[in-house]
Symmetry: C3
Subunit: 624 residues, 3 copies
Amino acid sequence: MKNISDYLWVVISAMIVFLMQPGFMALETGLTRAKNSINVAIKNMSDFILSVAVFWFIGFGLMFGTSFHGIVGSSDFFVNFEQNDWMAAFFLFQAVFAGTAATIDSGAIAERAKFSTYLLMSFITSAFIYPIFGHWAWGGYFYANNAGWLQQLGFLDFAGSTVVHSIGAWVGLSGIIIIGPRLGRFSKDGKANKIRGHNLVFAYFGVFILFFAWFGFNAGSTLTATTKIADIIANTMISAAFGGITGLFISWKFSKNQLPEPESIINGILGGLVGITAGCYYVSAVGAMIIGVVSGLIVYFGALFLEKLKLDDVVGAIPVHGFAGVWGTIATGIFIKENFLLEFGITRSHQIMVQLLGATTAFVWAFGVSFVLMKVINKFVPMRVSSSHEEIGLNIAEHGASTSIFELSNSVRNIIEDRNFKNAEKIEVEFGTEIGELTNYFNSMVNDLKEKEAEVEEALESLHHMAVTDGLTQILNRKKITEILGNEINIAIDYEKKLSILLFDIDFFKKVNDQFGHLAGDRVLVDLSKNVSSTLRKTDYFGRYGGEEFLVIMPKTDLEMAYFFANRIRAKIETMRWAFSDDLTVTVSGGVVENSGEDINKMIHRADELLYYAKENGRNQIAK
Amino acid sequence: MKNISDYLWVVISAMIVFLMQPGFMALETGLTRAKNSINVAIKNMSDFILSVAVFWFIGFGLMFGTSFHGIVGSSDFFVNFEQNDWMAAFFLFQAVFAGTAATIDSGAIAERAKFSTYLLMSFITSAFIYPIFGHWAWGGYFYANNAGWLQQLGFLDFAGSTVVHSIGAWVGLSGIIIIGPRLGRFSKDGKANKIRGHNLVFAYFGVFILFFAWFGFNAGSTLTATTKIADIIANTMISAAFGGITGLFISWKFSKNQLPEPESIINGILGGLVGITAGCYYVSAVGAMIIGVVSGLIVYFGALFLEKLKLDDVVGAIPVHGFAGVWGTIATGIFIKENFLLEFGITRSHQIMVQLLGATTAFVWAFGVSFVLMKVINKFVPMRVSSSHEEIGLNIAEHGASTSIFELSNSVRNIIEDRNFKNAEKIEVEFGTEIGELTNYFNSMVNDLKEKEAEVEEALESLHHMAVTDGLTQILNRKKITEILGNEINIAIDYEKKLSILLFDIDFFKKVNDQFGHLAGDRVLVDLSKNVSSTLRKTDYFGRYGGEEFLVIMPKTDLEMAYFFANRIRAKIETMRWAFSDDLTVTVSGGVVENSGEDINKMIHRADELLYYAKENGRNQIAK
Amino acid sequence: MKNISDYLWVVISAMIVFLMQPGFMALETGLTRAKNSINVAIKNMSDFILSVAVFWFIGFGLMFGTSFHGIVGSSDFFVNFEQNDWMAAFFLFQAVFAGTAATIDSGAIAERAKFSTYLLMSFITSAFIYPIFGHWAWGGYFYANNAGWLQQLGFLDFAGSTVVHSIGAWVGLSGIIIIGPRLGRFSKDGKANKIRGHNLVFAYFGVFILFFAWFGFNAGSTLTATTKIADIIANTMISAAFGGITGLFISWKFSKNQLPEPESIINGILGGLVGITAGCYYVSAVGAMIIGVVSGLIVYFGALFLEKLKLDDVVGAIPVHGFAGVWGTIATGIFIKENFLLEFGITRSHQIMVQLLGATTAFVWAFGVSFVLMKVINKFVPMRVSSSHEEIGLNIAEHGASTSIFELSNSVRNIIEDRNFKNAEKIEVEFGTEIGELTNYFNSMVNDLKEKEAEVEEALESLHHMAVTDGLTQILNRKKITEILGNEINIAIDYEKKLSILLFDIDFFKKVNDQFGHLAGDRVLVDLSKNVSSTLRKTDYFGRYGGEEFLVIMPKTDLEMAYFFANRIRAKIETMRWAFSDDLTVTVSGGVVENSGEDINKMIHRADELLYYAKENGRNQIAK
């Protein structure tokens, strides 16, 4: 018969074990990237509330109900604990254990497991995988004479190194094998890339909370108020401390940069905690110390081993809960105090064998069942998110949620992808949030860069214009028109195209200057240039060749055609009216030549000669 | 008579209930924006320490002191618990309850409520609003035969769905009505804009802590160590789990983007916790499940309802603590187990009526009193911060404190507001902090942009200069001076202003070149240009019109005045001394004309004619 | 004989005290900068696991083992608690106390203490400093008749204001004196610069956890389940509340910006907690209130006092744990209730004297021993990190770890330090992390700026080129070559160097134009320029001086040498072959002069005259 102290102890322990949930949440969110952190938190919360419901409906009955040949419980589904206060206390304690088992795999498969199928696996773990194995090891804890088959063989797992932790880890192992490593975790050349979590401080905080919750986990497993709870907690603390110290110094010695690495210390502590869980009641403080040290080693090298196998366990759940769990289970046989062996009437070696059997059974059961189930599920609904979802992160992809820092980086990624800041307009400013401010900033910065870019381009264009343009007439200058002609001759020769030019000169230009002044002469040059420009075809080039001398380049044009156009130009000029004098008529004389494979020099020279010929022949005419 | 187990249970429960404070803090800081997060934390801390003091001074006595006709307690102010250890334990438990009631409204009115008046309202809530209603429902919990009037009627609220949670929520409701929604929460067109919190992971962590603290809250309310505490906690856990599951699936189904939303899950859980608080002792596990599911629904749709009413409840405190609190109070009547009804000698429907009465009374009292008081306070001291304070955030505005990310965004906002990076100097670098580094970066970036800007401007200026300046003399070139003259003529004609020009030419310039060399000629042009430039008025323009020909434009100047200035220029040149020859005298001849409505062409032509006339007339003179 | 309630109470209290560790961790990481936050977390974790091990090995025995004349314990090393369950419980409680003492100094010396030597000091504190003083005050707590000398004198320190908190603080004080203030904490002019922590919200959360843990700390110190635990916790809560309220209002009144500062409130609360720790069992609630208020004042002004002394205590550990600890110890004598004085048979003034003695002894012992030891250690291994490590932060420097925000700021610092974005390539992109995204962004931004910079530079260069170059020949234009000659003349005169020039002119250039056309003339100018350019020495300058006139400047060259080079040029030109005419020979005539101290004008003039002389003398020759 339980007395009030037992109730207090078990209820308080259950509450404390509940804190494993925020502990795992802080640890796992801290060790993952910000873009997935909210998803991790939601998974931790959701798997707990789901597993409470499921364990109440099915799990508890399968685990502690009246045993069917030591294989499975068969009563107490939809637990009714109102008539039996002790059952309520016992249920509470077991429900938070089930919740722990259900959440362990979440860390291993974080950052790419789909929320919906993750919930399904949580359901299966809480409803079947955990409770059925739990029945084998702990089936007789509530009803007398109800032991499961492992328990009957004398399997010892005081608080669940195997029952809770290994089971959770093996489900996680199936998961990481089936859904594969995160994008970028392993390079194509097989190199492992470390993907660091976004908030190690919070991860450390989580470990402290887990450390605390573990006291309740281990000592509460007495399920009764006894003076032994102090020893249990002291053992737990010592194993954890030495696990952590081992992790600290081993990474200081062996890690790549020979520094005490943050992850090694906390995983050492967690390994020490998992390791002592099975034997916390049975071993001495010195035994606890050794278990802790070895756990620290196993976790450190176990993680390296997984990495070698290209298995991607985000938080190190498998080395911590799986490998250290197996070690702790076996170590219970190794370090169990004599008086217990006497009490149980068993030899140490026999005990070790039973422990090994239990640990192996757990692996075969949990890994086997979960692997097969996930394979099947994965066939119908992929358990992994799409790679685009993985890239943008599960916070956004699965919950429409985000952290400030993620949203910022996402905005800038958008900018980058379109380059040249073309989509600056697209970034929406969320009113009043920090990210809104930052977005504003980027929009502004981008805008500034755009303006600057425009100014520079304008300047360059201006420069270019100046370099190739005649200052007065704004048509091509001598340097440019000559350069173009050189190119066009090359093209004409290379591609066997026609090419003609017209060189023309204003007749009696000196007289215009003398009679109407400098400005009038300029005006003639400017207006004539404009007029001719508007007469030309798009493919023609027009430049000022000298004082009052102009050159027109006519690509893909033979002599006759060029002559026709040249005359049109001449005629057009002849009919121009001049603002400064009503009766002035300006005429030009010119020479047209077609390129005959000669070089620029000779071609111009020929045109020049024809021009002189036209002049001498009476002016206002084109010679060819 | 209480025994030691009772002490242990109540004291431990009280400690655990204390954790509601960090739980609320994490939840509320996580759901608000970074710029207000520290303010939220300070409010949570301050209202607790204040309410402890106030509850000790006044509140406890009003709530549990000897009853004045069931209306108010009237003894035990400034509680003296040293002579009575049980009173100490009872006080502890009640003080953390009062602290909880006082902090609930903080989440609703976060991000715009002023710190000073917030403290005042906390004081009033802890000193009067909560204890007086508390007396009505729970007055007889310490002294026998001391029941308040609601308690006498048989009102059941085991751990405070109404007494603690609704009371807190209704005070919050007054608050959000009086101080109004946050800037930007509702658009002018009435659209609601979601303002997301800055750290959902921390909010989730806070919910786990609240979940844990609630176990103590509900089970500790037995105020005695009893085997029933296990049932109570189990009911609490089940209701919370189903509240959360409901929130999860309902948002997955009904939310805009059909995703399981982070806020829905935690508010579902909190709704389930509030809902079960009144009946946790009275209902069965199945009753707890139903209460949880309905709470989840109420919270989800209640939040939408508030949004419809344009009420801005930052963390959803009113749906969670108010609406679910009312539901939980009524549900206690609906789901109370038969044996209790028999024990209390009351029918179910009667019980439900009493529950309704209690819930209604709480609303009328807490909302009514707080609304009136806040209206009055608000008249004398505005309860809302200024909108500029709201914009920069309460961390800075009310505490001179900041988070790194906020300070960053604030710095860049300053940059943006002054545009063109003019106030880059103003950003102070805080030594050695991350924000200092980032600020450094921005200063540097901004500086770089400024330099680039300067270079570009210099380049553009240089370009412009080259385009309008004569390369040798550095005065305006022909193109520019002509362009200016055109403009000035237009202005003169349009505005009927005078306009004169002087065109002048160096006499015998060829001789200078021949006699003293090219360089001497250039020197004459350069020095003469400088000399003339210094002679001109600010409004005049001066350009090189041709080889040794210059043009001076004199706006708003009639012929006589222009003639006067022209002669001054001529005289000045005549007296110039030349470095390369001691006895050389350079003279100029020029023509001055006033515009008579003619165009630029004719005007220059006239000046040119006068220039020639001057030359022919003996040189070194100005003709007009 | 202890009963089960005692076990429950002490074990549960020990667990709760354990939470001081995450409490301190959150507080200290929050109050330090992000770049050191992980290091702080690791230190907090490491010192705890180390102190558990050390306290188990040595500390416990020195503190509680059989006393050697009241000076030191001498049994129970490597505590064996398996045969004695009570010893296990007692050990647990004491181990978490030792862990607390060991961690207090970490906050004071944060952000610059080296990890390795910090661990060493933690070891020494847990192994010797804390346990030996502990023996003096508390030595008789486990074995009867085993009291230390202070305990024998009647020294009262119920839960360790002095034993735990002051001891920790004085070790910290030695530390901050020996390792000195953080870089930038005090300006050279002696001004104190506030270095704000990166996450005040988390610091607040930590204070809530500490507040909670303190309930276990103080009330658990009964070491037995008694009804007094409620009074103790109530006193603790009241003192803390009033400490906090004092801190709140005093900073509102006295702080620079007259705002309720975040750090003042929490340090007030912590001061109130430390202050009441010694007397929580002995004083009344009113005494607790006064102790709290005074603690709040002491902490506030104590921090200002330390700042005056240029001592840099990062989190305010010394005012909180040291000053308030001394005050609390003395206050126990002042406020102890009469009945206790009667019971102990001591007068109040005598008690106060004993308290003072105890507090003083603690200072002398802990400060003295730690100061000497650290001085020695510091000689062999510097206890402070290098200033470069301090600048990049201990996360990276000591653990290769980082936070996202730090890594960002570090990247940009690298950019800044090399200026002009030269090392943009160096920033490695970490795949898939947020910082990776941001780094990408910066790389892209920087790249953009580089491109823009290049464009601007190109534009400027282009401009410059245009301004100094002759458009046709691409050699220096008249303006530039004249400017250079002016400079060179000045240099020649100032430094008494030789300087010669060659002015030359193409013979019969007009004929080339007339005979072969414009283009041929241009070609002559261009080709000749190229040819001459390739003939010149690196130090010579070559420009087009007029139409067909060229100037060569030959610095550090006397007349003969110049004449030699000039003839080489002339000869070279004479032998040039021309594309447009097989039989054309172009010749030049020139004049060479050496500067004789004359100005540019006269020098050119002389060269010009020689040039004319050469022409008249038959052309194709150089005159000197």
